[in-house]
Protein backbone atom coordinates (compact mmCIF):
# COMPACT_ATOMS: atom_id res chain seq x y z
CA UNK A 1 0.00 0.00 0.00
CA UNK A 2 1.69 3.15 -1.15
CA UNK A 3 0.47 6.63 -0.84
CA UNK A 4 2.45 7.76 -3.87
CA UNK A 5 0.15 8.40 -6.80
CA UNK A 6 0.80 5.91 -9.54
CA UNK A 7 1.25 6.97 -13.11
CA UNK A 8 -1.94 7.08 -15.02
CA UNK A 9 -2.08 4.72 -17.92
CA UNK A 10 -5.20 5.38 -19.90
CA UNK A 11 -7.21 2.37 -20.90
CA UNK A 12 -5.75 0.18 -18.22
CA UNK A 13 -7.21 -0.38 -14.79
CA UNK A 14 -4.78 0.20 -11.99
CA UNK A 15 -5.31 -0.54 -8.31
CA UNK A 16 -5.56 3.13 -7.56
CA UNK A 17 -4.69 5.59 -10.26
CA UNK A 18 -6.22 8.42 -8.22
CA UNK A 19 -4.22 10.78 -6.05
CA UNK A 20 -5.82 9.34 -2.88
CA UNK A 21 -3.06 10.62 -0.61
CA UNK A 22 -3.58 10.80 3.11
CA UNK A 23 -2.69 14.50 3.16
CA UNK A 24 -5.55 15.25 0.80
CA UNK A 25 -7.78 12.95 2.81
CA UNK A 26 -7.16 14.86 6.00
CA UNK A 27 -7.65 18.13 4.14
CA UNK A 28 -11.12 17.00 3.07
CA UNK A 29 -12.08 15.45 6.39
CA UNK A 30 -10.33 18.13 8.42
CA UNK A 31 -13.15 20.66 8.87
CA UNK A 32 -15.55 18.00 10.15
CA UNK A 33 -12.88 16.66 12.51
CA UNK A 34 -12.16 20.16 13.83
CA UNK A 35 -15.84 20.80 14.54
CA UNK A 36 -16.31 17.42 16.24
CA UNK A 37 -13.11 17.81 18.25
CA UNK A 38 -13.94 21.34 19.39
CA UNK A 39 -17.66 20.96 20.13
CA UNK A 40 -17.99 17.25 20.90
CA UNK A 41 -14.79 15.49 21.97
CA UNK A 42 -13.25 18.40 23.86
CA UNK A 43 -16.36 19.19 25.98
CA UNK A 44 -16.78 15.49 26.75
CA UNK A 45 -13.17 15.14 27.78
CA UNK A 46 -13.44 18.31 29.82
CA UNK A 47 -16.50 17.10 31.70
CA UNK A 48 -14.89 13.68 32.25
CA UNK A 49 -11.92 15.46 33.79
CA UNK A 50 -14.18 17.75 35.80
CA UNK A 51 -16.16 14.80 37.13
CA UNK A 52 -13.17 14.33 39.47
CA UNK A 53 -13.44 17.91 40.77
CA UNK A 54 -15.96 19.85 42.81
CA UNK A 55 -17.46 21.67 39.83
CA UNK A 56 -20.22 24.18 40.52
CA UNK A 57 -19.25 27.03 38.15
CA UNK A 58 -18.27 29.13 41.17
CA UNK A 59 -14.65 29.54 40.08
CA UNK A 60 -12.79 27.42 42.59
CA UNK A 61 -12.81 23.72 41.75
CA UNK A 62 -10.79 21.56 44.13
CA UNK A 63 -9.77 18.06 43.04
CA UNK A 64 -11.77 15.47 44.96
CA UNK A 65 -10.73 12.26 43.19
CA UNK A 66 -13.58 9.85 42.69
CA UNK A 67 -15.67 11.70 45.28
CA UNK A 68 -18.46 12.54 42.85
CA UNK A 69 -18.73 8.92 41.74
CA UNK A 70 -18.70 7.42 45.22
CA UNK A 71 -21.19 10.05 46.49
CA UNK A 72 -23.58 9.04 43.75
CA UNK A 73 -23.05 5.30 43.87
CA UNK A 74 -23.88 5.29 47.59
CA UNK A 75 -26.51 8.04 47.43
CA UNK A 76 -30.23 7.44 47.80
CA UNK A 77 -31.39 9.56 44.87
CA UNK A 78 -28.91 8.03 42.45
CA UNK A 79 -29.90 4.54 43.43
CA UNK A 80 -33.55 5.42 42.97
CA UNK A 81 -32.77 6.76 39.49
CA UNK A 82 -30.65 3.70 38.71
CA UNK A 83 -33.44 1.36 39.80
CA UNK A 84 -35.95 3.31 37.67
CA UNK A 85 -33.55 3.25 34.72
CA UNK A 86 -33.10 -0.52 34.93
CA UNK A 87 -36.86 -1.14 35.25
CA UNK A 88 -37.57 1.32 32.43
CA UNK A 89 -34.96 -0.17 30.07
CA UNK A 90 -35.75 -3.82 30.77
CA UNK A 91 -39.54 -3.51 30.67
CA UNK A 92 -39.85 -1.17 27.71
CA UNK A 93 -37.27 -3.01 25.59
CA UNK A 94 -38.85 -6.38 26.36
CA UNK A 95 -42.36 -5.18 25.55
CA UNK A 96 -41.26 -3.36 22.41
CA UNK A 97 -39.25 -6.25 20.99
CA UNK A 98 -41.78 -8.98 21.86
CA UNK A 99 -44.82 -6.97 20.74
CA UNK A 100 -42.96 -5.73 17.68
CA UNK A 101 -42.10 -9.28 16.66
CA UNK A 102 -45.62 -10.57 17.34
CA UNK A 103 -47.22 -7.83 15.27
CA UNK A 104 -44.68 -8.19 12.46
CA UNK A 105 -45.29 -11.94 12.20
CA UNK A 106 -49.07 -11.46 12.29
CA UNK A 107 -49.28 -8.79 9.61
CA UNK A 108 -46.48 -10.12 7.40
CA UNK A 109 -47.62 -11.04 3.91
CA UNK A 110 -49.80 -9.54 1.24
CA UNK A 111 -52.50 -7.77 3.18
CA UNK A 112 -54.40 -4.93 1.58
CA UNK A 113 -53.45 -1.56 2.95
CA UNK A 114 -49.96 -2.60 4.03
CA UNK A 115 -48.36 0.34 2.23
CA UNK A 116 -50.51 2.81 4.11
CA UNK A 117 -49.95 0.88 7.34
CA UNK A 118 -46.17 1.13 6.92
CA UNK A 119 -46.45 4.86 6.37
CA UNK A 120 -48.56 5.30 9.50
CA UNK A 121 -46.21 3.12 11.56
CA UNK A 122 -43.36 5.45 10.71
CA UNK A 123 -45.10 8.41 12.35
CA UNK A 124 -44.69 7.69 16.11
CA UNK A 125 -40.94 6.92 16.00
CA UNK A 126 -40.29 10.13 14.09
CA UNK A 127 -42.32 12.66 16.07
CA UNK A 128 -40.76 14.65 18.88
CA UNK A 129 -40.60 12.67 22.15
CA UNK A 130 -41.50 15.96 23.82
CA UNK A 131 -44.87 15.91 22.02
CA UNK A 132 -45.35 12.26 22.97
CA UNK A 133 -44.74 13.10 26.61
CA UNK A 134 -47.11 16.06 26.46
CA UNK A 135 -49.80 14.05 24.72
CA UNK A 136 -49.67 11.17 27.18
CA UNK A 137 -49.72 13.61 30.08
CA UNK A 138 -52.97 14.90 28.60
CA UNK A 139 -54.37 11.41 27.94
CA UNK A 140 -53.53 10.42 31.54
CA UNK A 141 -55.01 13.59 33.07
CA UNK A 142 -57.16 12.44 36.00
CA UNK A 143 -59.96 14.97 35.53
CA UNK A 144 -60.29 15.61 31.81
CA UNK A 145 -58.11 12.88 30.33
CA UNK A 146 -59.43 10.36 27.84
CA UNK A 147 -58.01 7.22 29.45
CA UNK A 148 -59.73 7.73 32.78
CA UNK A 149 -62.92 8.74 30.98
CA UNK A 150 -62.86 5.39 29.18
CA UNK A 151 -62.17 3.58 32.46
CA UNK A 152 -65.20 5.33 34.00
CA UNK A 153 -67.29 4.35 31.00
CA UNK A 154 -66.61 0.69 31.75
CA UNK A 155 -67.11 1.24 35.50
CA UNK A 156 -63.46 0.58 36.23
CA UNK A 157 -61.62 2.43 39.00
CA UNK A 158 -59.55 5.46 37.99
CA UNK A 159 -55.79 5.15 38.03
CA UNK A 160 -53.57 7.89 39.53
CA UNK A 161 -51.33 7.72 36.46
CA UNK A 162 -48.89 10.55 37.07
CA UNK A 163 -49.37 11.29 40.78
CA UNK A 164 -48.64 7.81 42.13
CA UNK A 165 -44.93 6.82 42.34
CA UNK A 166 -45.41 3.36 40.82
CA UNK A 167 -47.89 4.42 38.14
CA UNK A 168 -45.71 7.37 37.11
CA UNK A 169 -42.95 5.02 35.97
CA UNK A 170 -45.53 2.76 34.31
CA UNK A 171 -47.00 5.78 32.46
CA UNK A 172 -43.58 6.78 31.16
CA UNK A 173 -42.98 3.20 29.99
CA UNK A 174 -46.38 3.17 28.21
CA UNK A 175 -45.49 6.38 26.35
CA UNK A 176 -42.10 4.96 25.34
CA UNK A 177 -43.67 1.68 24.21
CA UNK A 178 -46.24 3.56 22.12
CA UNK A 179 -43.54 5.59 20.41
CA UNK A 180 -41.01 2.85 19.71
CA UNK A 181 -42.92 -0.40 19.12
CA UNK A 182 -43.86 0.68 15.55
CA UNK A 183 -40.16 1.07 14.74
CA UNK A 184 -39.58 -2.51 15.90
CA UNK A 185 -42.51 -3.70 13.74
CA UNK A 186 -41.02 -2.01 10.67
CA UNK A 187 -37.53 -3.40 11.38
CA UNK A 188 -38.83 -6.94 11.91
CA UNK A 189 -41.12 -6.75 8.86
CA UNK A 190 -38.12 -5.82 6.73
CA UNK A 191 -36.22 -8.73 8.29
CA UNK A 192 -39.05 -11.21 7.72
CA UNK A 193 -39.33 -10.20 4.09
CA UNK A 194 -35.67 -10.91 3.40
CA UNK A 195 -35.79 -14.40 4.95
CA UNK A 196 -34.93 -17.28 2.61
CA UNK A 197 -38.09 -19.24 1.75
CA UNK A 198 -36.53 -22.71 1.32
CA UNK A 199 -36.12 -23.65 5.00
CA UNK A 200 -39.69 -22.55 5.73
CA UNK A 201 -41.09 -24.57 2.84
CA UNK A 202 -39.01 -27.58 3.80
CA UNK A 203 -40.31 -27.36 7.35
CA UNK A 204 -43.90 -27.15 6.11
CA UNK A 205 -43.35 -30.25 3.98
CA UNK A 206 -41.96 -32.00 7.05
CA UNK A 207 -45.17 -31.15 8.88
CA UNK A 208 -44.02 -28.34 11.16
CA UNK A 209 -46.82 -26.16 12.51
CA UNK A 210 -46.75 -22.38 12.44
CA UNK A 211 -45.47 -22.14 16.01
CA UNK A 212 -42.68 -24.65 15.38
CA UNK A 213 -41.70 -22.84 12.21
CA UNK A 214 -41.52 -19.55 14.05
CA UNK A 215 -39.59 -20.89 17.00
CA UNK A 216 -37.08 -23.12 15.20
CA UNK A 217 -36.61 -21.39 11.86
CA UNK A 218 -37.82 -17.78 11.78
CA UNK A 219 -36.40 -16.74 15.15
CA UNK A 220 -32.86 -18.09 14.63
CA UNK A 221 -32.75 -16.56 11.13
CA UNK A 222 -33.93 -13.24 12.51
CA UNK A 223 -31.15 -13.07 15.09
CA UNK A 224 -29.09 -10.35 13.36
CA UNK A 225 -32.16 -8.10 13.04
CA UNK A 226 -33.12 -8.70 16.67
CA UNK A 227 -29.57 -7.80 17.73
CA UNK A 228 -29.77 -4.50 15.82
CA UNK A 229 -33.17 -3.77 17.35
CA UNK A 230 -31.83 -4.47 20.86
CA UNK A 231 -28.77 -2.32 20.26
CA UNK A 232 -30.91 0.59 19.05
CA UNK A 233 -33.20 0.40 22.03
CA UNK A 234 -30.44 -0.07 24.62
CA UNK A 235 -28.59 3.02 23.39
CA UNK A 236 -31.83 4.96 23.22
CA UNK A 237 -33.36 4.03 26.58
CA UNK A 238 -30.17 5.10 28.35
CA UNK A 239 -30.55 8.55 26.78
CA UNK A 240 -34.30 8.97 27.25
CA UNK A 241 -35.08 12.41 28.62
CA UNK A 242 -37.77 14.31 26.71
CA UNK A 243 -40.75 12.03 27.36
CA UNK A 244 -40.09 11.95 31.09
CA UNK A 245 -39.42 15.67 31.27
CA UNK A 246 -42.77 16.59 29.76
CA UNK A 247 -44.77 13.93 31.58
CA UNK A 248 -43.47 14.00 35.13
CA UNK A 249 -40.15 15.92 35.32
CA UNK A 250 -38.91 12.82 37.14
CA UNK A 251 -41.57 13.04 39.85
CA UNK A 252 -43.39 12.47 42.05
CA UNK A 253 -40.49 12.52 44.50
CA UNK A 254 -38.03 11.17 41.95
CA UNK A 255 -40.18 8.11 41.28
CA UNK A 256 -39.80 8.41 37.50
CA UNK A 257 -36.27 9.85 37.44
CA UNK A 258 -34.12 8.20 34.83
CA UNK A 259 -30.33 8.67 34.85
CA UNK A 260 -30.40 11.47 32.27
CA UNK A 261 -33.22 13.31 34.05
CA UNK A 262 -31.38 13.00 37.34
CA UNK A 263 -28.16 14.31 35.77
CA UNK A 264 -30.08 17.24 34.29
CA UNK A 265 -31.65 18.12 37.65
CA UNK A 266 -28.23 17.90 39.35
CA UNK A 267 -26.62 20.22 36.82
CA UNK A 268 -29.31 22.78 36.18
CA UNK A 269 -31.32 22.87 39.40
CA UNK A 270 -28.69 22.00 42.02
CA UNK A 271 -25.88 23.59 39.91
CA UNK A 272 -23.70 20.64 40.84
CA UNK A 273 -21.92 19.95 37.55
CA UNK A 274 -19.37 17.57 39.04
CA UNK A 275 -21.96 15.11 40.26
CA UNK A 276 -24.04 15.60 37.10
CA UNK A 277 -21.03 14.81 34.90
CA UNK A 278 -20.29 11.73 36.99
CA UNK A 279 -23.88 10.50 36.57
CA UNK A 280 -23.83 11.08 32.81
CA UNK A 281 -20.62 9.06 32.55
CA UNK A 282 -22.10 6.27 34.63
CA UNK A 283 -25.08 6.19 32.21
CA UNK A 284 -22.74 6.00 29.22
CA UNK A 285 -20.62 3.34 30.93
CA UNK A 286 -23.70 1.25 31.68
CA UNK A 287 -24.95 1.30 28.12
CA UNK A 288 -21.47 0.36 26.89
CA UNK A 289 -21.33 -2.55 29.36
CA UNK A 290 -24.79 -3.79 28.36
CA UNK A 291 -23.89 -3.58 24.66
CA UNK A 292 -20.61 -5.35 25.39
CA UNK A 293 -22.51 -8.17 27.09
CA UNK A 294 -25.05 -8.30 24.25
CA UNK A 295 -22.32 -8.87 21.68
CA UNK A 296 -19.64 -10.41 23.88
CA UNK A 297 -21.56 -13.24 25.53
CA UNK A 298 -22.81 -14.92 22.31
CA UNK A 299 -19.32 -14.50 20.88
CA UNK A 300 -17.73 -16.20 23.91
CA UNK A 301 -20.25 -19.04 23.78
CA UNK A 302 -19.60 -19.56 20.09
CA UNK A 303 -15.86 -19.55 20.77
CA UNK A 304 -16.11 -22.15 23.53
CA UNK A 305 -18.27 -24.37 21.35
CA UNK A 306 -15.69 -24.13 18.58
CA UNK A 307 -13.05 -25.49 20.93
Amino acid sequence: MSSIPQNRVSGRRRRSPLPYTWQKGYLLAGPAFVVMLAIFVYPLGYSFLMSFFRWDLSGSAPFIGTGNYTDELFGRQFNQALRNQIIFSVVSITVEVVAGMAIAVLVNGELRGMRLARTLLLVPPMIAPAVVGLNFRWLFNTQYGLVDALLRMFNLPNIPWLSDPTWALVSVIIADVWQNTPLMVLLFLAGLQSLPQEPLEAATVDGAGPWQRFWHIVLPLMRPVIMIALMLRIIDTFRTFDVVWLMTQGGPGGASNLLTVYAYLLAFQAVDFGHAAAVSYIALGMSLVVLGLLYGVPWLIAKRRAI
Binding site: P17, G25, L44, N108, V131, L232
Partner: protein, 291 residues
Protein backbone atom coordinates in the same frame (compact mmCIF):
# COMPACT_ATOMS: atom_id res chain seq x y z
CA UNK B 1 -46.14 -16.76 1.17
CA UNK B 2 -48.03 -19.10 3.42
CA UNK B 3 -50.21 -17.82 6.19
CA UNK B 4 -49.09 -17.99 9.76
CA UNK B 5 -52.29 -19.38 11.20
CA UNK B 6 -54.06 -21.55 8.68
CA UNK B 7 -57.64 -22.43 9.40
CA UNK B 8 -59.86 -24.82 7.52
CA UNK B 9 -63.28 -23.25 7.65
CA UNK B 10 -64.19 -20.39 5.39
CA UNK B 11 -66.24 -17.41 6.31
CA UNK B 12 -69.74 -18.21 5.03
CA UNK B 13 -70.77 -14.73 3.83
CA UNK B 14 -67.68 -13.37 2.14
CA UNK B 15 -67.02 -15.43 -0.92
CA UNK B 16 -63.64 -13.86 -1.67
CA UNK B 17 -60.99 -16.36 -2.64
CA UNK B 18 -58.91 -17.77 0.25
CA UNK B 19 -60.45 -15.46 2.79
CA UNK B 20 -59.89 -17.73 5.75
CA UNK B 21 -60.29 -17.02 9.44
CA UNK B 22 -56.51 -16.84 9.57
CA UNK B 23 -56.46 -13.93 7.15
CA UNK B 24 -59.33 -12.27 9.01
CA UNK B 25 -57.27 -12.54 12.19
CA UNK B 26 -54.32 -10.93 10.50
CA UNK B 27 -56.44 -8.06 9.25
CA UNK B 28 -57.75 -7.62 12.77
CA UNK B 29 -54.18 -7.50 14.11
CA UNK B 30 -53.24 -4.94 11.47
CA UNK B 31 -56.30 -2.84 12.21
CA UNK B 32 -55.72 -2.86 15.98
CA UNK B 33 -52.05 -1.99 15.56
CA UNK B 34 -52.85 0.97 13.34
CA UNK B 35 -55.69 2.09 15.62
CA UNK B 36 -53.42 2.13 18.68
CA UNK B 37 -50.67 3.84 16.68
CA UNK B 38 -52.82 6.62 15.32
CA UNK B 39 -55.40 7.24 18.00
CA UNK B 40 -53.26 9.22 20.49
CA UNK B 41 -52.29 11.58 17.66
CA UNK B 42 -55.90 11.91 16.51
CA UNK B 43 -56.79 12.77 20.09
CA UNK B 44 -54.08 15.47 20.17
CA UNK B 45 -55.54 16.94 16.98
CA UNK B 46 -59.12 16.73 18.28
CA UNK B 47 -58.06 18.53 21.47
CA UNK B 48 -56.44 21.28 19.43
CA UNK B 49 -59.66 22.09 17.55
CA UNK B 50 -61.94 22.16 20.62
CA UNK B 51 -63.09 25.21 22.48
CA UNK B 52 -61.62 25.55 25.98
CA UNK B 53 -65.06 24.85 27.50
CA UNK B 54 -65.21 21.59 25.59
CA UNK B 55 -61.69 20.60 26.67
CA UNK B 56 -62.47 21.13 30.35
CA UNK B 57 -65.78 19.34 30.39
CA UNK B 58 -66.77 16.33 32.46
CA UNK B 59 -67.78 13.82 31.18
CA UNK B 60 -65.31 13.93 28.31
CA UNK B 61 -66.86 14.32 24.86
CA UNK B 62 -65.14 11.93 22.51
CA UNK B 63 -66.42 13.83 19.47
CA UNK B 64 -65.69 17.57 19.69
CA UNK B 65 -68.84 19.65 20.25
CA UNK B 66 -67.63 22.31 17.85
CA UNK B 67 -64.58 22.65 15.62
CA UNK B 68 -62.76 25.92 16.19
CA UNK B 69 -59.39 27.46 15.48
CA UNK B 70 -59.32 29.50 18.71
CA UNK B 71 -56.52 27.37 20.21
CA UNK B 72 -54.30 28.08 17.22
CA UNK B 73 -55.17 31.77 17.35
CA UNK B 74 -54.18 31.90 21.02
CA UNK B 75 -50.97 29.96 20.36
CA UNK B 76 -49.82 32.64 17.97
CA UNK B 77 -51.52 35.58 19.68
CA UNK B 78 -51.22 35.20 23.45
CA UNK B 79 -48.15 32.99 23.52
CA UNK B 80 -46.01 34.46 20.70
CA UNK B 81 -45.27 30.99 19.43
CA UNK B 82 -44.07 32.41 16.12
CA UNK B 83 -40.73 33.28 17.77
CA UNK B 84 -40.23 29.64 18.75
CA UNK B 85 -41.28 28.46 15.30
CA UNK B 86 -38.76 30.74 13.57
CA UNK B 87 -35.94 29.72 15.89
CA UNK B 88 -36.70 26.05 15.32
CA UNK B 89 -36.83 26.50 11.55
CA UNK B 90 -33.57 28.47 11.39
CA UNK B 91 -31.68 26.11 13.71
CA UNK B 92 -32.88 23.02 11.84
CA UNK B 93 -32.14 24.30 8.33
CA UNK B 94 -28.75 25.83 9.12
CA UNK B 95 -27.74 22.67 10.99
CA UNK B 96 -28.68 20.47 8.03
CA UNK B 97 -26.65 22.65 5.65
CA UNK B 98 -23.57 22.87 7.90
CA UNK B 99 -23.63 19.17 8.75
CA UNK B 100 -23.65 18.22 5.08
CA UNK B 101 -21.04 20.75 3.98
CA UNK B 102 -18.76 19.10 6.54
CA UNK B 103 -19.94 15.49 6.39
CA UNK B 104 -19.87 14.88 2.61
CA UNK B 105 -16.14 15.61 2.10
CA UNK B 106 -15.34 13.86 5.38
CA UNK B 107 -17.20 10.68 4.43
CA UNK B 108 -15.62 10.80 0.96
CA UNK B 109 -12.13 11.09 2.46
CA UNK B 110 -12.77 8.30 4.97
CA UNK B 111 -13.99 5.87 2.34
CA UNK B 112 -11.48 6.63 -0.44
CA UNK B 113 -8.24 7.99 0.95
CA UNK B 114 -5.68 5.84 2.69
CA UNK B 115 -5.50 7.78 5.90
CA UNK B 116 -3.56 6.53 8.89
CA UNK B 117 -5.77 6.20 11.95
CA UNK B 118 -8.96 5.51 10.00
CA UNK B 119 -9.92 2.62 12.24
CA UNK B 120 -9.52 4.80 15.32
CA UNK B 121 -11.76 7.43 13.71
CA UNK B 122 -14.43 4.82 12.90
CA UNK B 123 -14.34 3.63 16.49
CA UNK B 124 -14.69 7.18 17.78
CA UNK B 125 -17.61 7.88 15.44
CA UNK B 126 -19.39 4.74 16.70
CA UNK B 127 -18.95 5.71 20.34
CA UNK B 128 -19.99 9.31 19.65
CA UNK B 129 -23.33 8.05 18.35
CA UNK B 130 -23.97 6.38 21.71
CA UNK B 131 -23.17 9.33 23.97
CA UNK B 132 -26.20 10.45 25.99
CA UNK B 133 -27.04 14.03 24.95
CA UNK B 134 -26.96 15.09 28.61
CA UNK B 135 -23.26 14.14 28.81
CA UNK B 136 -22.63 16.62 25.99
CA UNK B 137 -25.07 19.27 27.22
CA UNK B 138 -23.47 19.65 30.67
CA UNK B 139 -19.96 20.64 29.51
CA UNK B 140 -21.30 22.55 26.49
CA UNK B 141 -23.22 24.76 28.89
CA UNK B 142 -20.00 25.55 30.77
CA UNK B 143 -17.98 26.07 27.57
CA UNK B 144 -20.58 28.29 25.91
CA UNK B 145 -21.07 30.22 29.14
CA UNK B 146 -17.34 30.98 29.23
CA UNK B 147 -17.52 32.12 25.59
CA UNK B 148 -20.62 34.23 26.18
CA UNK B 149 -22.50 32.20 23.57
CA UNK B 150 -25.36 31.01 25.79
CA UNK B 151 -28.92 31.80 24.75
CA UNK B 152 -28.02 32.39 21.11
CA UNK B 153 -29.14 30.62 17.98
CA UNK B 154 -25.49 30.03 17.12
CA UNK B 155 -24.83 28.08 20.29
CA UNK B 156 -27.67 25.74 19.32
CA UNK B 157 -26.57 25.47 15.69
CA UNK B 158 -22.96 24.67 16.67
CA UNK B 159 -24.06 22.11 19.26
CA UNK B 160 -26.44 20.38 16.86
CA UNK B 161 -23.92 20.41 14.02
CA UNK B 162 -21.32 18.65 16.16
CA UNK B 163 -23.86 16.26 17.67
CA UNK B 164 -25.41 15.22 14.33
CA UNK B 165 -22.12 14.94 12.37
CA UNK B 166 -21.17 11.38 13.46
CA UNK B 167 -24.54 9.96 12.36
CA UNK B 168 -24.47 11.84 9.03
CA UNK B 169 -20.89 10.78 8.26
CA UNK B 170 -21.70 7.18 9.10
CA UNK B 171 -24.80 7.22 6.88
CA UNK B 172 -23.02 8.83 3.93
CA UNK B 173 -20.07 6.40 4.18
CA UNK B 174 -22.35 3.53 3.26
CA UNK B 175 -23.65 5.33 0.19
CA UNK B 176 -20.20 6.46 -1.04
CA UNK B 177 -18.86 2.93 -0.74
CA UNK B 178 -21.53 1.85 -3.23
CA UNK B 179 -20.25 4.28 -5.89
CA UNK B 180 -17.97 2.38 -8.31
CA UNK B 181 -14.46 3.82 -8.30
CA UNK B 182 -14.24 3.49 -12.09
CA UNK B 183 -16.52 6.50 -12.48
CA UNK B 184 -14.21 8.69 -10.41
CA UNK B 185 -11.17 7.31 -12.21
CA UNK B 186 -12.71 8.19 -15.54
CA UNK B 187 -13.42 11.73 -14.33
CA UNK B 188 -9.91 12.13 -13.04
CA UNK B 189 -8.28 10.85 -16.18
CA UNK B 190 -10.33 13.46 -18.01
CA UNK B 191 -8.54 16.02 -15.89
CA UNK B 192 -10.97 16.69 -13.05
CA UNK B 193 -9.33 17.47 -9.71
CA UNK B 194 -10.30 15.98 -6.37
CA UNK B 195 -12.74 18.72 -5.46
CA UNK B 196 -14.36 18.70 -8.87
CA UNK B 197 -14.72 14.91 -8.78
CA UNK B 198 -16.36 15.17 -5.36
CA UNK B 199 -18.72 18.01 -6.24
CA UNK B 200 -19.67 17.12 -9.80
CA UNK B 201 -19.39 13.33 -9.90
CA UNK B 202 -19.71 11.80 -6.44
CA UNK B 203 -22.22 14.17 -4.84
CA UNK B 204 -24.93 13.69 -7.50
CA UNK B 205 -24.43 9.92 -7.37
CA UNK B 206 -25.06 9.80 -3.62
CA UNK B 207 -28.01 12.21 -3.76
CA UNK B 208 -30.41 9.63 -2.22
CA UNK B 209 -27.98 9.15 0.65
CA UNK B 210 -27.68 12.89 1.18
CA UNK B 211 -31.47 13.14 1.10
CA UNK B 212 -31.78 10.39 3.70
CA UNK B 213 -29.24 11.91 6.07
CA UNK B 214 -30.68 15.41 5.53
CA UNK B 215 -34.18 14.26 6.48
CA UNK B 216 -32.87 12.42 9.55
CA UNK B 217 -30.69 15.35 10.63
CA UNK B 218 -33.53 17.79 10.12
CA UNK B 219 -36.11 15.83 12.11
CA UNK B 220 -33.82 15.02 15.01
CA UNK B 221 -32.74 18.66 15.23
CA UNK B 222 -36.35 19.82 14.96
CA UNK B 223 -37.42 17.39 17.69
CA UNK B 224 -34.56 18.10 20.11
CA UNK B 225 -35.50 19.24 23.57
CA UNK B 226 -32.44 18.70 25.76
CA UNK B 227 -29.85 20.85 23.98
CA UNK B 228 -32.28 23.72 23.54
CA UNK B 229 -33.39 23.43 27.16
CA UNK B 230 -29.84 23.69 28.48
CA UNK B 231 -28.32 26.20 26.06
CA UNK B 232 -31.14 28.72 25.69
CA UNK B 233 -33.15 30.70 28.20
CA UNK B 234 -35.18 33.31 26.31
CA UNK B 235 -37.31 33.71 23.24
CA UNK B 236 -34.20 34.95 21.42
CA UNK B 237 -33.16 31.34 20.87
CA UNK B 238 -35.68 28.95 22.43
CA UNK B 239 -37.22 26.38 20.13
CA UNK B 240 -40.71 24.88 19.96
CA UNK B 241 -40.05 21.86 22.20
CA UNK B 242 -38.83 24.23 24.91
CA UNK B 243 -41.90 26.36 24.19
CA UNK B 244 -44.00 23.33 25.09
CA UNK B 245 -42.39 23.17 28.52
CA UNK B 246 -43.02 26.89 29.02
CA UNK B 247 -46.75 26.31 28.57
CA UNK B 248 -46.61 24.15 31.68
CA UNK B 249 -44.64 26.33 34.05
CA UNK B 250 -45.76 29.83 33.15
CA UNK B 251 -49.47 29.59 32.57
CA UNK B 252 -50.63 26.60 34.56
CA UNK B 253 -51.44 24.12 31.87
CA UNK B 254 -53.35 25.46 28.91
CA UNK B 255 -54.13 22.11 27.33
CA UNK B 256 -55.82 23.53 24.24
CA UNK B 257 -52.94 25.82 23.27
CA UNK B 258 -50.43 23.15 24.19
CA UNK B 259 -52.13 20.62 21.93
CA UNK B 260 -52.19 23.14 19.09
CA UNK B 261 -48.45 23.76 19.56
CA UNK B 262 -47.92 19.99 19.66
CA UNK B 263 -49.77 19.61 16.36
CA UNK B 264 -47.54 22.31 14.84
CA UNK B 265 -44.48 20.39 16.05
CA UNK B 266 -45.64 17.20 14.36
CA UNK B 267 -46.33 18.73 10.93
CA UNK B 268 -42.78 18.41 9.49
CA UNK B 269 -42.69 14.77 10.56
CA UNK B 270 -45.98 14.09 8.81
CA UNK B 271 -44.77 15.86 5.66
CA UNK B 272 -41.52 13.87 5.54
CA UNK B 273 -43.21 10.58 6.38
CA UNK B 274 -45.73 11.12 3.58
CA UNK B 275 -43.47 12.50 0.86
CA UNK B 276 -40.05 11.10 1.73
CA UNK B 277 -40.88 7.78 3.34
CA UNK B 278 -38.26 5.97 1.29
CA UNK B 279 -35.52 8.38 2.37
CA UNK B 280 -36.56 8.13 6.01
CA UNK B 281 -36.54 4.33 6.02
CA UNK B 282 -33.19 4.35 4.24
CA UNK B 283 -31.83 6.75 6.83
CA UNK B 284 -33.14 4.76 9.77
CA UNK B 285 -31.99 1.37 8.53
CA UNK B 286 -28.60 2.40 7.11
CA UNK B 287 -27.72 4.54 10.07
CA UNK B 288 -29.48 2.15 12.44
CA UNK B 289 -29.01 4.60 15.30
CA UNK B 290 -31.10 7.58 16.23
CA UNK B 291 -29.50 11.00 16.49
Amino acid sequence: MDTVAVSTHRKPRRRRRRFTAGIAGRYLALFLTIAFTIFPLVWLFLTSIRSSADIFSVPVHIIPVTATLTQYVSVFGEYDTMDYVWNTIIVSFVTVILVHLLAIPCAYALSRFRMPGVMLIFGLLLIMRMIPVIALAIPLFAVFAAMGLLDSIWALILAHTAAKLPVAIWLLLGFIQDVPREIEEAAQSDGAGTMRTLVQIVTPLIAPGIGASAVITFLFTWNDLLLALTLTSSKAAQTLPVGLTNFVSQFGIDWGAMSAAGVLMVIPTLVFVWFAQGLLVKGLTTGAVRG
